[in-house]
């Protein structure tokens, strides 16, 4: 392994400005990850051609792949930069911002649309209040396990970045929100609002926008079985569609 790492970074000064590329070289350290590279650039923001530049802007927080903040496109693949270990990456390492969200600056994007989608599908349990009402219903360990799979979604956006149907201009809620709709429709009390969720998914930007390309599952860092959720929701929205016709 060489004692320095070369990185190529796609930068952008602000929204609407032309992106441009810069190259950096940083010292190699054992077990370093892409965050370490960006930190090294902060400590010495000079390009390979010797030009002093502003440090690269990027988001991160937990550094253990549980908050979703640091997602970017690394060597063409969308993933978290904190868990991208340099030893496992080809060089030069190429960093770009996520492709489906507006760029704020450099590698920072605005993923607000994902949170709005969570509102659309009512991703919550409508509890009566925070006063003491005792425990929830009993639950089979297997059921907890199934829900937990989906509950680990950190709204990182890898799945929407990879989804061919999710476009910057479109209004598709995207695979992550579909996974959450499935989660809440199977929760012991949140399922009481299942019909409202299904109705929301029948409208514009809902489940029919999914072309079943399966890209989403392949990139999800938490291995969330999104396509299983989508298949089940498809069945359920279909049933809801006919129910709506009958009881109109």
């Amino acid at each position: 392994m060489s004692s320095t790492i070369e990185v190529h970074i796609k930068r952008q000064k602000e929204a609407g400005k032309q992106p441009y590329w810069e190259k950096f070289r940083v010292p190699y350290q054992a077990s370093m990850n892409v965050i370490t590279i960006l930190q090294e650039i902060q400590r010495n923001p000079v390009t390979t051609s010797g030009e002093k530049v502003a440090p690269v802007a990027w988001d991160c927080s937990c550094l253990e792949e549980v908050c979703g903040a640091c997602t970017m496109v690394i060597n063409g693949h969308v993933r978290q930069s904190c868990s991208a270990l340099v030893d496992k990456l080809e060089q030069p390492i190429v960093l770009e911002p996520m492709r489906k969200f507006p760029v704020v600056r450099d590698l920072v994007v605005n993923r607000q649309r994902m949170f709005e989608s969570l509102k659309k599908i009512q991703a919550w349990t409508a509890i009566d209040g925070t006063y003491d009402l005792g425990p929830a219903e009993k639950q089979a360990p297997q059921h907890q396990h199934e829900l937990y799979l989906f509950a680990r979604c950190m709204t990182c956006g890898c799945c929407v970045d990879a989804c061919p149907q999710y476009t910057r201009e479109g209004d598709f809620v995207g695979p992550a929100a579909l996974g959450q709709a499935y989660l809440f429709n199977n929760n012991k009390s949140a399922r009481f609002q299942a019909e409202e969720r299904l109705n929301a998914l029948m409208g514009e930007g809902g489940i029919q926008d999914c072309g079943n390309a399966q890209n989403c599952v392949r990139v999800c860092p938490k291995d969330i079985p999104l396509t299983r959720a989508i298949a089940k929701l498809n069945g359920a929205t279909m049933a809801q569609f006919f129910k709506n016709l009958l009881f109109k």
């Binding site: 054992a30 902060q42 903040a69 868990s83 003491d132």
Partner: protein, 623 residues
């Protein structure tokens, strides 16, 4: 009268619970956070949350939980806070269950509980090994629901800079900066809660998230708020060493049966599985037969440090020991600890189901924080009608969560923080409403000048920062400070090093003035924001260091080897009596809260008594 306005800064567990309590009562709340709240540091919490639900027929009770908490904290915690929190534990876990947190279940379908440090009971509810994430998501969902209903207004990617005070010194709002545009604005409120989490980044590398700078707490400290027990920094015994972060391996690993050991032969370089059981030194089990690997964190961290640094048994002669799970069935590990198995695999590259993990202690949590007030009932609970509960010494400004100081004394028990954050939020919201009820005149009636003045002070500050073009690089300065603080102010503390630190830290303030801002733009200028964090972190480092220097005793996480009193094993021996006399003398002198107040010449330290009226302090033992 106009509708009251509430601001909550911080959307971790404590902040979100405070918001929910306010919004549920029909109030309008503005919520500020440097990250979308769903990405707050609370997601990192792995192991679980305590509540004495007693589902395993062990005879556990809130009273025992209370006792364990107070003893675990080496008696420095304010007992009414602890008592109330522990008695609310079960109800809080039930509430989170109702919100949909996927807690692990027993075969009967009940909530499952596991062991954690500092207790002999199965008291910790958990959702795999990502409990904090699951709790935070549940609250985030509830807050999103209030947001959809128009009660909560989120200002995400806004950073709190400072408070706005009226002519009486009461808090009437905040000044915040839009991180994407560097626009600085003031916001009005009748009561403000800071729920901005811990200051781990003062140490550079820790188990904390990168946003845990303690900057908000430091800002209000520099504006007159008291900072309490700053020197009590928890060092977690088990983390994976790393270049950017020291990633935690939760105490739940030991709660599920994980064992800590080193080879009996120093420097033994054989692969761990070739070292047979009788060639391994399970030093925690040997020294603490009763609590074993689940002694409280301060003790476990001190023992691991001792075995490596003083006795030279660290792996390969270095600073690491084994945390071994390989004797536990894989399915059980996957069901109960998946989240941390994944972290070790992804970041260390080995499968901890097959190979013992290599770990060392790391900075983890701050027991200290902003000083807050309270009133108690005669039977030792918090007075729920009092507006003073969780209020700082700045009227109208509250602090809640890791940023406060009063629940964990000198050492926090594992899985008690998530509980204190949630409990804190549940009492802070109502206290803020009480305060506002009795408030003379709303923020709307304040002269606009107090907001304009505060705003322009911060604008000036940032204009100054944007013009800085010296030789020092702020990120390198931060790295250097962190390494210095780790070396001198963590597990073992020596007065010589601490007093040298005073000069060093003052020097850092000077060097800060010689920094370059590196970036003069206004769009997402992270270095300008960082310059402000760095200044604030240096001020907090001074508080931590000075408190540590002056506190001449050993208590919980604060260990001065030069002052350590060995406790004789035999409680009936004359040596024990001698020890006890000395212990009482020292305890009478030092069982008090450290209070730091900002001044030009550095932190001014004074002390305050602790309410220990319910459980009498004794020398702690776990063997």
């Amino acid at each position: 009268m106009a509708q009251s306005r509430f601001i909550v800064v911080g959307g971790g567990l404590a902040g979100l619970m405070t918001v929910i309590k306010l919004a549920e009562a029909g109030n309008q709340v503005d919520l500020f956070s440097v990250v979308p709240v769903k990405r707050s540091h609370s997601v990192c919490a792995q192991g679980g949350i305590n509540g004495a639900v007693n589902t395993k027929g062990e005879g556990d009770s809130p009273e025992t939980h209370f006792y364990d908490t107070v003893k675990g904290g080496d008696f420095l915690a304010h007992q009414p806070f602890c008592k109330d929190m522990c008695y609310q534990g079960p109800a809080i876990i039930y509430l989170m269950d109702r919100m949909g947190v996927p807690f692990n279940r027993t075969n009967e379908g009940l909530l499952d509980f596991r062991r954690f440090g500092g207790t002999l009971y199965n008291r910790t509810a958990f959702a795999g090994a990502t409990t904090g994430q699951q709790l935070l998501y549940a609250l985030d969902e509830q807050v999103r629901r209030f947001e959809a209903d128009g009660l909560v207004n989120k200002y995400e990617r806004y950073e709190f800079l400072g408070v706005v005070k009226d002519s009486n010194g009461s808090c009437r709002g905040i000044v915040a900066v839009d991180m994407d545009t560097l626009e600085i604005k003031s916001f009005k409120a009748d009561a403000v809660a800071l729920a901005t989490g811990g200051p781990g980044l003062v140490y550079g590398r820790s188990t904390n998230s990168m946003i845990n700078t303690g900057s908000a707490a430091s800002s209000v400290y520099q504006d007159g708020a008291k900072y309490a027990n700053g020197e009590f920094i928890q060092i977690h015994p088990t983390a994976i060493p790393g270049t950017d972060k020291l990633r935690l391996m939760s105490e739940s690993a030991r709660g599920e049966g994980g064992r800590v050991w080193v080879p009996k032969q120093k420097g033994d370089s054989r692969p761990p599985r070739q070292i047979s059981a009788n060639e391994r030194w399970y030093f925690l089990e040997e020294k603490y037969p009763r609590f074993g690997n689940l002694v409280p964190r301060d003790i476990a961290a001190q023992e691991i440090y001792n075995v490596c640094v003083n006795e030279g048994y660290g792996l390969g002669g270095g600073n690491m020991v084994y945390l071994d799970l390989t004797h536990i069935p894989r399915e059980q590990l996957d069901k109960k600890l998946f989240g941390i198995m994944e972290i070790y695999e992804k970041f260390a590259g080995d499968d901890p189901r097959d190979v013992p993990m290599k770990i060392f202690p790391a900075v983890h949590y701050s027991m200290g924080g902003l000083w807050v007030d309270y009133e108690r009932t005669p039977d030792g609970f918090l007075d729920r009608k009092s507006p003073r509960v969780h209020m700082t010494n700045i009227p109208g400004l509250y602090a809640v969560g890791e940023v406060d100081y009063q629940y964990h004394g000198a050492n926090r028990l594992g899985a008690n923080s998530l509980l204190s954050c949630l409990f804190g939020g549940m009492v802070t919201g109502p206290a803020m409403m009480e305060y506002v009820k009795n408030l003379n005149g709303a923020s709307g009636d304040q002269p606009g000048s107090i907001y304009d003045d505060a705003e322009s002070r911060w604008k000036d500050r940032f204009n100054q920062i944007l013009a800085m073009d010296g030789e020092e690089n702020p990120y390198r300065l931060h790295h250097e400070m962190g390494e210095q603080m780790i070396r001198t102010c963590t597990i073992v503390r020596f007065n010589k090093a601490l007093s040298e630190n005073e000069g060093y830290l003052n020097g850092l303030s000077d060097r800060w003035k010689k920094c370059s801002v590196l970036d003069t733009g206004i769009t997402r200028n992270q270095s300008a924001l960082f310059m402000n964090h760095l200044w604030n972190m240096i001020e907090l480092a001074k508080v931590i260091n000075k408190g540590a220097l002056l506190r001449d005793e050993c208590r919980g996480s604060h260990l001065k080897p030069d002052l350590k009193m060995e406790q004789p094993k035999d409680q009936n021996s004359p040596e024990y009596k001698e020890f006890l006399d000395k212990w009482h003398k020292q305890n009478d002198e030092w069982l008090k809260t450290t209070i730091a107040q900002w001044s030009d010449e550095g932190p001014q330290i004074s002390y305050e008594p602790v309410d220990t009226s319910i459980i009498k302090p004794i020398p702690r033992r776990y063997d």
